[in-house]
């Protein structure tokens, strides 16, 4: 209960602050009402409290709060009312309305305004209704939520008064729910309670569920039946939300996998090059982000919010350039020998890791989240963090962009031509080595921008890429090599399956199960989900 009090107090302060400028002149009109508290017995005091509450002005809340806490005094000399706190031998006084400091005074110069338990209750409900009537809808909403948590039957009246006046639908809904919670806690009639159960059942969240479970276990007869029904309904809807939550987590994981795998879908899927250094391209993208942020911190802190947008093209260029270098320097000599390519690129991955380790050190580097990447919002019963959401959006954008490049540009046309029939493409005048290098650079560059995104949710260390390489290959192979849509579906399927397994098997075992599942799946369909069939003449 004291929590509720201090919370309401806080709200009052907030309301007071919000209203400061406009309400300054009103304060003086309230002063006679406050000063009236200095006179009269309990009965009069009760009426005076009612008068204060009836103003609906949150500025009176601190005075009421102090009254309830036994901290409201009046000065004997002029019957002025103050909030007084013990300070040394005397009291520190502050104005009850403006809360400004009003100096100190001796112990005998002031008298406490007395309250009894009955009055304290009156004060409490007055306070509740005051904030429930506050001009700022946010404050009203918070007050209603506080009442919901407290489920204080005393608040029913003020809630009803507030509901009658409320104009904001959302706030009214919460108020009604708070009222229902309070009704269930009161000794009201069964009819009222049944109605309240209805209201809570329609909320469908965990708080309502625990209230209703409490009611189910403590009530009897019709109310108990209704509560049981409501509990079941909520349980069902919560199960649905749980699934939705899992699907969201799955999509989120899936888009991380998609980002990591999509570059590989080009180099491995389209070109048939086994690039074991793919993970390192991702890692380099993440380090580019780190470097960009460091430069911004030291030279232009104002740009920090845009650091990711600056890092994206740079990461694409750096990783892409390294990719082109690898293709020209090593891979092109090994075309048609996939196993050798695998070994050579693994060696390159070792070199790149060690190079990054030598330059930046072996430990994790700090990459900050811009404001728009941090925080979370609620959607129904789901909590969605902004960084996850933006990564999902980003993954889809990258995928769509890549599709556009491959399907709609002449570069994409050349790439497809070269991979389908190299000699024919060459004789049409396409410079096939150039296309090879550019395609490989494209795949590596995309890995680089994936690194920018992953730097927001993962530790940036030289080993960053190692964690993704096996998963990426699994996604590409599972989805069907040479098919970008397969990669999309594969990433999302694996992400969702993983997250659905986790509650039952734990994170590690879930991952193992997924790996085993893929191993078995590849046995069954060696060419993945979306295999391209054809009259492949192999001998």
């Amino acid at each position: 209960m004291s929590f509720l009090k201090s919370f309401l107090m806080f709200l009052c302060l907030m309301a007071g602050l919000v209203g400061t400028g406009a309400a300054q002149s009103d304060l003086e009109s309230l002063r006679p009402l406050v000063n009236a508290l200095a006179e009269g017995k309990y009965k009069e005091t009760q009426k005076q409290i009612g008068d204060l509450a009836a103003t609906g002005n949150p500025a009176v809340a601190p005075a009421l709060e102090a009254l309830g806490a036994g901290e409201l005094f009046f000065r004997k000399s002029d019957k002025q009312v103050f909030i007084a706190k013990k300070a040394g031998k005397g009291y520190a006084l502050s104005d009850p309305l403006t809360l400004e400091d009003a100096g100190e005074t001796g112990r005998r110069a002031v008298t406490k305004i007395k309250v009894n338990n009955n009055l304290r209750r009156v004060i409490r409900s007055a306070l509740g209704s005051l904030t429930l009537l506050a001009p700022d809808p946010k404050v009203r909403m918070a007050a209603a939520e506080a009442v919901f948590k407290a489920k204080d039957p005393e608040a029913i009246e003020s809630l009803e008064a507030a509901i009658a006046k409320e104009i904001d639908d959302d706030v009214r809904l919460v108020m009604e729910q708070a009222r229902a919670a309070a009704v269930l806690n009161s000794d009201g009639s069964d009819g009222d309670k049944l109605e309240a159960i209805e209201t809570l059942a329609s909320m469908g969240n965990r708080e309502a569920l625990s209230l209703l479970i409490g009611l189910r276990d403590s009530s009897e007869g019709e109310v108990q039946q209704a509560a049981t029904r409501a509990v079941n309904t909520i349980n069902k809807s919560l199960a649905l939300w749980d699934n939705a939550q899992n699907i969201w987590y799955g999509i989120s994981l899936g888009s991380v996998l998609l980002l990591a795998a999509i570059g590989l879908a080009i180099t491995f899927g389209v070109m048939g090059v086994i690039n074991m250094a793919h993970g390192e391209m991702v890692m380099i993208g993440a380090y580019v982000t780190f470097v960009v942020q460091e430069l911004i911190r030291s030279s232009a802190p104002g740009l920090f919010e845009y650091s990711l947008f600056i890092a994206l093209p740079l990461a694409f260029l750096v990783s892409g350039a390294i990719g082109v270098g690898i293709e020209r320097g090593v891979i092109r000599w090994l075309y048609g020998r996939p196993l050798e390519t695998l070994l050579a690129t693994w060696g390159i991955s070792l070199i790149l890791q060690q190079a990054v380790r030598s330059i930046f050190g072996p430990t994790n580097r700090e990459v900050g989240n811009p404001d728009w990447m941090s925080g979370a919002f609620e959607l129904g019963q789901l909590t969605i963090t902004y960084n996850r959401m933006w990564i999902v959006v980003f993954a889809i954008l990258v995928f769509a962009g890549l599709m556009l490049v491959l399907k709609k540009t002449s570069f994409g046309l050349f790439t497809r031509a070269v991979t389908q029939n190299r000699r024919m493409a060459a004789s049409m005048g396409i410079r096939t080595p150039w296309i090879d290098a550019m395609t490989f650079g494209l795949g590596s560059g995309i890995a680089g921008i994936a690194g920018v995104a992953l730097s927001q949710i993962d530790n940036v260390s030289p080993n960053l890429g190692q964690g993704y390489i096996i998963d990426s290959f699994m996604v590409v192979v599972f989805g069907g090599v040479g098919n970008l849509w397969g990669t999309l579906v594969g990433a999302m399927t694996l992400g969702v399956v993983n997250k659905f397994l986790e509650p039952y098997a734990g994170a590690v075992l879930g991952k193992i199960l997924v790996l085993v599942f893929i191993i078995l799946f590849i046995q069954k369909r060696p060419r993945g989900l979306f295999a391209l069939k054809g009259r492949a003449v192999e001998a």
């Binding site: 391209l532 069939k533 054809g534």
Partner: protein
């Protein structure tokens, strides 16, 4: 011809790849001891037909029977080869890092299990047979050379030798004369005719001179089914064959 008295019996066989019908209700019957030449334009389904017979491709529908009783659609490549169907590929494929001798030894009819081969010791009869085959395919003086070092035509011959070493009942020979000189082509025709005396043979070929040299019944495939069948003269007189394949 009845299924029971045939060596190879295909009826209503269809195969499609992503909507493209490679074989369309193909029916073909080969009698024991028969030699048959198959012609047809590119994409007529000749290679796919061989793939179906040897178990590489499963037909979507239709029957494929060997020896009248064995359903080939239930068997895999290895057991079909064990049943006695040998195949020579369009592109000659021999084991390039083995010697000619080893190529023939691997092909020689013998138990095919891992443990049988692990403890296998080459016997006198096997050596004699390999010598005989080396003679036949005229590679006797190159027996210890790697197959990789052979010319294209020699590889074709080695592959035919390997086919014979398997001692199959039915030989499927895909374009044996491709890449050969005229003289070599004529010799190959003679060789096949020799083989046909003791085996059933199906030859796919584009070279009309070669087909004429064989002098056997001809089947012309087009778009996955049989267009015409009969002697070469009969088939080449057929209007439709002329239109789709031979040209005017």
């Amino acid at each position: 011809m009845a299924k029971s008295s045939s060596l190879l019996y295909l009826d209503g066989v269809s195969v499609s790849f992503d909507g493209f019908k490679a074989l369309n209700e193909l029916s073909l019957v080969i009698a024991p001891g028969e030699m048959r030449a198959i012609i047809g334009p590119n994409g007529a389904g000749k290679t796919t037909m061989m793939d179906v017979i040897t178990g590489k491709t499963r037909p979507d529908s239709g029957e494929v029977f060997f020896d009248g009783t064995v359903d080939l659609t239930d068997e895999d490549e290895a057991s079909i080869a064990e049943l006695g169907i040998g195949r020579k590929f369009q592109k000659p494929t021999v084991f390039e890092s083995h010697t000619i001798w080893d190529n023939l030894e691997l092909a020689l009819k013998a138990p095919r299990g891992p443990f049988a081969t692990l403890f296998h010791v080459i016997a006198g009869a096997e050596k004699a047979r390999i010598e005989e085959l080396l003679e036949l395919i005229r590679l006797g003086d190159k027996r210890d050379e790697l197959a990789a070092n052979l010319s294209h035509g020699q590889k074709q011959w080695l592959e035919i030798g390997m086919l014979l070493a398997q001692d199959p009942k039915l030989l499927l020979v895909d374009e044996p004369a491709a890449g050969m000189t005229d003289a070599e082509t004529a010799e190959t025709a003679e060789l096949l005719k020799d083989i046909a005396k003791s085996h059933s043979v199906v030859v796919v070929e584009h070279d009309m001179t070669f087909i004429r040299a064989l002098g056997v019944k001809v089947t012309c495939l087009a778009e996955g089914s049989v267009l015409a069948e009969g002697s070469l003269d009969h088939v080449s007189a057929d209007e439709r064959v002329v239109e789709v394949y031979l040209g005017r």
